[in-house]
């Protein structure tokens, strides 16, 4: 109970210390930063048990902090990723300026996310939500690139989402007289029909923005790619999950209570499906790794949203499992991009190629996370995808499953592009000096990749807390019904057993690897990527054999009609229109004294004319 308060106090003290003492000395700053994360992480993992909480009053409103089994799942993601990306950040950001600000802000974001998860009432939820918004905003603009465009877009959408949420909170408060989430859920059936529809929609708008649900996603590509990668690892991995967290609560505990509320879930699920498909197509088109991963994040969040919006036990398991997995592999990938960018100075596929021999460990981490992302067994991504498909079939969403399948197949395209773009292909002279990223950066990546592997074989490890969280939300326990430690079942009782698959895969792979290399390993020699046969000719040294421009063009040509319309452009034109309108209102104050005098007279006349209706 006090542990929650202690955690917050440590966070605040750590933030302040990192900021102010961090100005003195870089090492001290890093130590303080990591110590704060470690201390809070330790306290969280040892001292916090679900169902502990405190209550207090502000402005006469009762508020409470505590943790539920459901928020515990997300808290694991947040704390875990914060620790690992924190370690990564210390090394990755080494040479940047303004680091005390960066690290303090980093801690602030982590604190706000934990706060969101600890909040049992809507007001503190909203407060932490907003702290998260502006602290992440400062990270988006931290690099100083595209500040007015990307940054403002992010804060604009966040503000719209947050205020939609605030509106709902205010309605809830005035109707029930309490802001406790529990009271709200209990009393929801007393609301009138109009409110019953309005409140979930407003809340979902708020959460939809953070979880980058189309059409509220337009901030995400810019924001994800603009922040320092060590932060984006957490931004995309953990922060976006806050939207999912809220969305689950709204969809399961609140929408369930509306008569015909089923439709909200269907619409959200479809929006998730469209998000997944469109974002994947856009990801394929990107030439910048950060942008690509950003779109990929949007797409992956789309899957998660489909899962939680369908809301059957299996779908919910799938959604939450994928949320955890996405946190793991997407963070790793962003870290990989960060490492590549740090070592080469660019994150563009068209510039960097052939790093595999220079950065083998980074490549390994990237490979594992890409396999997890693509949903290929035996890594964890497969479990989530499998459960999602099965749940969609079990709940009769046939077109949605096609949509999801399309996007996850199309995702192979960008998965390959990512690995090929950075690590494979021609080894250019330009990058011959590149070295492996420092161990402090590589180890967090590898740890995360290891988790992706582990969860693929033993999904039960994370399905257990998920199951407990779902029981808290009112689901019947799914243990042994949908999952065991290493087996997953679908609605019809069919199962996939991961262990033998894993043995066979490893066995076959190792066997053939040995078969291919055992004799030749000493006798064969490595030759450069220039030493190849291109239609029987031996290419000259200066010949450019790098293939990265227009990588997926044939595919993009095939899907061009779908990608012609871009919602971003509509927003931009709306924005421009509004700015023009506001420019007009600005001109109401002409700066001319005579006009003002005229206004004065006109105002009297108007008041006199409308005195009956105004007074």
């Amino acid at each position: 109970m006090e542990t929650i308060l202690t955690i917050f106090i440590i966070f605040i003290a750590g933030t302040a210390a990192t900021y102010f003492l961090g100005k003195l000395n870089g090492v001290l700053r890093s130590i303080l930063f990591l110590a704060t994360l470690a201390a809070t992480g330790w306290l969280f993992f040892t001292g916090i048990t679900p169902e502990s909480g405190i209550e207090f009053r502000i402005l006469g409103i009762t508020m409470g902090w505590g943790i539920t089994p459901f928020s515990y799942i997300f808290a694991i993601i947040v704390m875990g990723l914060a620790l690992l990306s924190g370690i990564y950040a210390v090394k990755a950001m080494e040479d940047e300026k303004n680091l005390n600000f960066f690290f303090a802000n980093f801690l602030l974001t982590v604190m706000s996310m934990m706060g969101i998860l600890f909040s049992l009432d809507l007001i503190s939820f909203f407060i932490f939500w907003e702290i998260m918004t502006w602290s992440s905003y400062f990270m988006v603009v931290f690099t100083g690139k595209d500040v007015q465009k990307v940054g403002i877009k992010y804060i604009l959408f966040s503000a719209i989402g947050a205020y939609a949420m605030l509106m709902a909170i205010v309605f809830i408060y005035s109707f029930t007289g309490s802001v406790l989430i529990g009271d709200f859920i209990d009393n929801f059936h007393l609301f009138d029909t109009q409110m019953q529809w309005l409140i979930p929609i407003l809340l979902l708008t708020g959460f939809g923005v953070k979880s980058a649900l189309m059409p509220l996603h337009v901030w995400a590509p810019g924001a994800y790619s603009n922040s320092p990668m060590s932060y984006t690892a957490m931004f995309s991995g953990a922060l976006s999950k806050m939207g999912i967290y809220g969305m689950v609560i709204v969809l399961i505990l609140i929408v369930q209570q509306i008569p015909n509320g089923y439709w909200i879930k269907e619409v959200i699920a479809w929006m998730g499906g469209i998000t997944a498909a469109m974002a994947t197509l856009w990801a394929i088109k990107q030439d910048d790794a950060k942008k690509m991963l950003a779109y990929s994040s949007i797409g992956q969040l789309g899957y998660i949203i489909v899962g939680v919006a369908i809301g059957t036990p299996l779908a919910m398991l799938a959604g939450l499992f994928m949320a955890v997995m996405h946190g793991i592999f997407k963070s790793t990938l962003f870290m990989v991009v960060g490492a590549v960018e740090r070592q080469t100075g660019t994150s563009n596929f068209t510039e960097v190629t052939g790093l595999i021999r220079k950065m083998p460990w980074t490549f390994l981490a990237a490979l594992m996370s890409i396999i997890a992302l693509a949903g290929i067994p035996p890594l964890g991504g497969f479990i989530g995808k499998w459960m999602l498909y099965e749940s969609l079939m079990g709940s009769n969403h046939y077109l949605l499953i096609i949509m999801i399948f399309f996007s996850s197949t199309a995702a192979f395209l960008y998965c390959f592009k990512f690995l090929f773009g950075f690590f494979l292909g021609q080894e250019e002279k330009e990058w011959s000096h590149v070295k492996e990223a420092p161990a402090m950066m590589v180890i967090p990546m590898l740890i995360l990749a290891g988790f992706a592997f582990l969860l693929g074989i033993f999904p039960g490890l994370i399905l257990k807390p998920i199951n407990e969280g779902m029981q808290f939300l009112g689901y019947v326990s799914t243990t042994n019904r949908f999952w065991e430690m290493s087996i997953i079942f679908n609605d019809w009782g069919n199962a996939v057993v991961m262990m033998p698959i894993f043995y066979w895969i490893i066995g076959v792979f190792v066997f053939f690897l040995v078969f291919l290399t055992i004799k030749g390993y000493k006798t064969t020699r490595y030759v450069s990527t220039k030493d190849i046969s291109t239609s029987g000719e031996i290419p000259k040294e200066h010949e450019n054999l790098t293939f990265t421009m227009g990588f997926m063009q044939p595919f993009l040509r095939a899907v061009a009609p779908v990608m012609k319309r871009q919602i971003d452009k509509y927003y931009t034109s709306i924005g421009n229109g509004l700015e023009a309108l506001f420019d007009f209102t600005r001109r109401i104050n002409t700066g001319n004294g005579q006009t003002y005098a005229l206004y004065f007279v006109v105002f009297i006349i108007i008041l006199l004319l409308f005195k009956d209706s105004l007074f």
């Binding site: 940054g151 503000a159 205020y163 506001f582 004294g593 105002f603």
Partner: protein, 500 residues
């Protein structure tokens, strides 16, 4: 007790008379004496305020003439709170500008500090007086000092701004006078309590006409649309701290006058459409205009106007919650907006145009001031955990209690706009590279100015993290405003008991 309410007005007037004389002997006195006076006023109003919180509303009659014949000063939980805020802000502005104007010559400094002091005194007068004609006089005092302060830089632009202000001020004064005449002709009294007690006897048509003229008369000071055309110019052209004083002190007095008129004088209970409509229009026009401003202070001015619109909307709901929210907003605005003006004028110190583009990358050169500016910006746009959030939240809950959904939606949309333009400035300040060719030369902020900024920032954080520190006082003030009968009783009983 260190004095009675009348000292709040008498001492600064006396000091204003004496300062030029003392200044002939001791030049520094023109800076120091106003500060001492303002400090005294702060202490006085604070102690009076604490006194009345314990002992109930304090009514003071001037020169032994009892109400309703004489002029009385009412120091109630509401007026006391506002007077304390105003005097305190006056002191902060003085603290800030103490060295700020050290580079200007003696004459200019003399005028500046005297008028600043009078501005505060007049505003306090508007708040604590219980007599409408007396209020009119104070409005004029404030007006005259404000014109003079606007024209402080004696350039073409500031003269023009002051002149526009003067035009609007004079027009409003005549409207106010008309209103007072109508009321006096109808009821034969100028005492607020007396008017309030007898308002039913007034012909309903006259009543509405009087109300309209009151609104127009006070509206210029309260910066309602469309009578606020002077404000952006005046805020922009006046020295930075004066902008802070305008937004922190003068507007509050204007709003108070308008609200007192509506709530007490004309004893309207329940929602007041006129305030809501005016407030909303003011809010929307001002905030949307702010989005496209190129000058920092102009943007802040529009933001200030917009906030006042929101205050009027909250008052217009006419409920306890609404009044509470409005007062909370006023309090927060009185703290935050001066912080923005003061830190903003440090940032733009070495430019006369004060374009937003000129502070590009300034955070690299003036980190502390920039952080404080950002703090103010975050707070005013209502982001938690800073003070502005709580007031915005109370406005929204008050509106939700009355089921005013449209207002909630509009207020939130406007808040989004607010966030956008403030964040544009923050971006420019922090996340752009400092560019010699665009940005102005950084100015080394003075020690006293920094103390003033830190006090304000500390208050923002205090209220943000511990809103309960002020809500109790605001609650009492809201009760006080809504309880017209108590006001009438307090003021008139005193008079009657002595007459009998």
């Amino acid at each position: 007790m260190v004095g009675t309410p009348v000292f709040l007005i008498a001492i600064p007037l006396l000091a204003a008379f004496l300062i030029p004389l003392i200044g002939m002997i001791w030049k520094e006195s023109v800076r120091i004496i106003p500060g001492l006076v303002l400090a005294y006023m702060t202490v006085l109003s604070a102690s009076l305020y604490l006194f009345i919180l314990e002992n109930g509303t304090y009514v003071e009659t001037i020169a032994g003439w009892q109400a309703p014949w004489g002029i009385d000063l009412v120091f109630s939980p509401l007026t006391g709170l506002l007077a304390t805020i105003m005097t305190f802000m006056g002191f902060i502005v003085w603290l800030y500008s103490y060295r700020f104007k050290s580079n200007v010559e003696f004459e200019a400094a003399k005028k500046y500090f005297i008028f600043l002091m009078l501005l505060v005194a007049g505003s306090v007068g508007i708040v604590i007086t219980g007599d409408i004609f007396n209020q009119f006089v104070f409005i004029e005092i404030v007006g005259i000092s404000a014109y003079a302060l606007t024209a402080f830089y004696t350039g073409r632009n500031s003269a023009e701004a002051a002149f526009k202000y003067l035009i609007m001020g004079s027009l409003s004064a005549s409207a106010l006078l008309i209103a007072i005449i109508i009321v006096y002709a109808q009821l034969g009294t100028l005492n607020m309590a007396e008017i309030a007690a007898n308002i039913d006897q007034m012909n309903v048509h006259y009543r509405i006409i009087a109300m309209i003229f009151f609104i127009i008369g006070i509206g210029v000071e309260a910066e309602i649309f469309p009578l606020n055309g002077w404000a952006p110019d005046a805020y922009t052209e006046a020295p930075g701290p004066v902008g802070g004083a305008f937004s922190g002190i003068v507007v509050k007095a204007g709003i108070y006058a308008m609200v007192r008129m509506m709530f007490t004088l004309f004893d309207i209970s329940g929602p007041m459409k006129i305030l809501i409509v005016i407030g909303l229009v003011t809010l929307i026009v001002a905030e949307t205009s702010a989005l496209r401003q190129e000058k920092l202070k102009r943007m802040l001015a529009y933001s200030s106007i917009g906030q006042m619109g929101l205050v009027l909307v909250a008052f217009g709901m006419g409920t306890k919650a609404g009044v509470f929210a409005a007062l909370f907003l006023m309090l927060n605005h009185a703290i935050i907006k001066p912080l923005l003006f003061l830190s903003g004028s440090f940032l733009t110190f070495n430019t006369t145009e004060k374009y937003i583009s000129q502070i590009t990358g300034m955070a690299k050169k003036m980190p502390v001031v920039s952080v404080l500016f950002a703090l103010g910006a975050l707070a005013i746009s209502g982001l938690p955990p800073f003070s502005g959030f709580w007031s915005k939240l109370s406005v929204l809950t008050a509106a939700a209690d009355e089921n005013l959904m449209l207002i909630i939606a509009l207020v939130l949309i406007i808040s989004v706009i607010e966030i956008v333009y403030y964040f544009r400035v923050i971006n420019r300040l922090f996340f752009f590279e400092y560019d010699e060719s665009v940005s102005v030369k950084p100015h080394k902020p003075g020690f006293n100015g920094m103390i003033a900024l830190f006090i304000l920032a500390g208050l923002i954080l205090l209220i943000g993290f511990y809103p309960a520190s002020v809500t109790g006082y605001l609650d009492l003030a809201a009760d006080d405003l809504l309880n017209t009968h108590q006001y009438i009783d307090k003021v008139l009983q005193l008079g009657q008991s002595i007459i009998q």
